[in-house]
Amino acid sequence: MEAENARLRAEVEALRARLRALEAAGASADAPRQQPDGSSCTAAAAAGAAAPAAAGARPSRAPPAGFVSPHGLTKPQAERYSRQLLLPAFGPAAQARLCAASALIVGCGGLGAPAALYLAAAGIGRLGLADHDAVEISNLHRQIIHSEARAGAHKAASAAAAVAALNSSVALDVHTEGLTPANAADLVRRYDLVIDASDNAPTRYLLSDAAAATGTPLVSAAAVGTDGQLTVYCLGEDGPCYRCLFPEPPAPGNCARCADAGVLGPVPGVMGVLQALEAVKILAGVGKPLSRQLLLFDALSGRFTTIKLRARAPDCAACGGGGGAAAAGDAAGGTGAQAEGPAGGACCSGRGSGSDARAPRGRMRPEDVAAFDYAAFTGQAAHDGAPPPLRVLPPDQRLAAAELRDRLAAAGLGGGDDRDGAANGASSSGSGGSGDSGGAAGCVLIDVRPTAQFGVMSLPGAVNLPFDSPERFRERHVASVLALASCGAGCAALAAGAAARDGGASGYGGAASATGSSGAAGAAPRGAAARAAAEQAAAEQQRPVYVVCRRGNHSQLAVQELRAAGLREVFDLAGGMEAWAAEVDPAMPVL
């Protein structure tokens, strides 16, 4: 009770201060932005973050008296949020708590975009926006907080601009350095709540650990393809953390990235809005948060399901054992209140002021978070960007895009002649293809990208044999390539050849795709006979083989496999289709 009283007194004082600041700012009509919470700006500046707008001039005029708002809401606040104030399930007390609360959004992408906009619109007092990435045009189908005009800008700064335009009374901290093990706990502890809107496994573990180590509730969501998931971690006495659910990291092969697997724009939109909703509920102290529950969204069947999750694990490496409940009880203020459950708007005690009495929930402490190697733990880098370039093949087994263009043209594959004349922007690739890898051409062109990428655009005559792993490529595709290579120009007896001809002349998209065991050259024979046949085929190589992929990584590994199988005339396209688009065919779309 003592702690609760202190908390309420602090809250009232903070609200009074905000009221004075708001009224002062409101009195100066031409002030572009109101910056009600000076302390948060200071906090942001101290962290090296660039606050998008400095506090406006504050005339020191005495606030006008004349109306009574028991919850400390100002006239602009009461008017702006009136539809929430009139709502019996929300009302002025909840609104006042929200206006005095702060949240950190990690990731200003498909989830963070709607989460930030809705939290700002609903009247959160202070918002931290963290992202190290820059806006790309291919983000805009789902990351609606950004714009064409801000392509290339820091996502965190771009998001801040949109939020400021929507609600100028929200104090903003922009963190363009993103979340790192070194800064995570310090960053998270400056907010009442954190939203995981990130896009990769290492960041999800890092953020959950930082939330556990600082006793900060975490609203987590994810979206890939047409599926979405949402839950709340580190809330209340029995709420689990991410590690409670997933003590062991997933295999990288189980982690589809939006950049590879695709995502339907409104799906992260739905999930991000739901994150804002959960955050509003927790910060304002209304409703029942989705702690120990996982909400699943299946967009294709239009179905939401909520399932019951395990409680916090006593042996959890992050939130189990150690301090936990005992430490939370000992801590003054915030954490003690938080442990009482969500209905009291409990976690909002440290709001905006930078004061922090929250304790670690379990054995993991802020210094442990800083020392943990998340990239090694998950086997993945903490970004959704391109993998680092591989250097596997010696340079004489790699071709620059222009070199490959000339070789393909000489072999009768792809039209290399009218490239400069294609003034209307129509792709050259569709115009000149006269042969194909399966039959008439003097070379074999293998595209090892996933079938979905191949389906969007491909080079004429290319045969699609996707590369998942060296083992699978060996198992499924090497024999097919050997058969194609040993079959001279003019040979048209192969299944892959027929498949290639079906779509090979259609330019981008629609070329041959021979996936899996049903694909090229029929089923490969197995065992000793297969090896003998493969050696024979490799020895009889008639046509050179060129291997392309998206960036020139998988193509190197595929060439390695093919050389190991005995082929000598096999090369990859250095830099992949991205290099082709940059150096040979600017009209080709880059995915």
Partner: protein
């Protein structure tokens, strides 16, 4: 034993891109999840078994739900299944 098996979060891609299976699983009276996993791998899975199972359990990152509840609440591998139970395998998502 008749069961409804469902795959989600992208896991369905390993199972012929089909999310729902109504199946009859051979059982001597009782059936545990430990027994169901290899059966699903051998009879339903079409691609990349290493992304579904690790040892005798599911791959890390996969949540198992029995009738809408985390299998942790009913004994994980030793959870006993009843006819008509709904078993869902969900791959945790990371994208955003």
């Amino acid at each position: 034993m008749k069961l409804c098996i469902e795959f989600g979060g992208g896991l369905e891609l390993l199972f012929g891109n089909q999310k729902n299976y109504d199946v009859e699983v051979p059982a001597d009276g009782s059936l545990t999840v430990r027994q169901l996993l290899p059966w699903a791998r051998d009879n339903l899975l079409q691609d990349r078994p290493e992304l579904f199972m690790k040892g005798d359990s599911v791959r890390p990152g996969i949540l198992v739900l029995i009738n809408g509840c985390d299998w942790e609440l009913s004994g994980t591998l030793d959870a006993e299944l009843q006819p008509g139970d709904e078993v869902v395998f969900i791959s945790t998502l990371h994208g955003g």
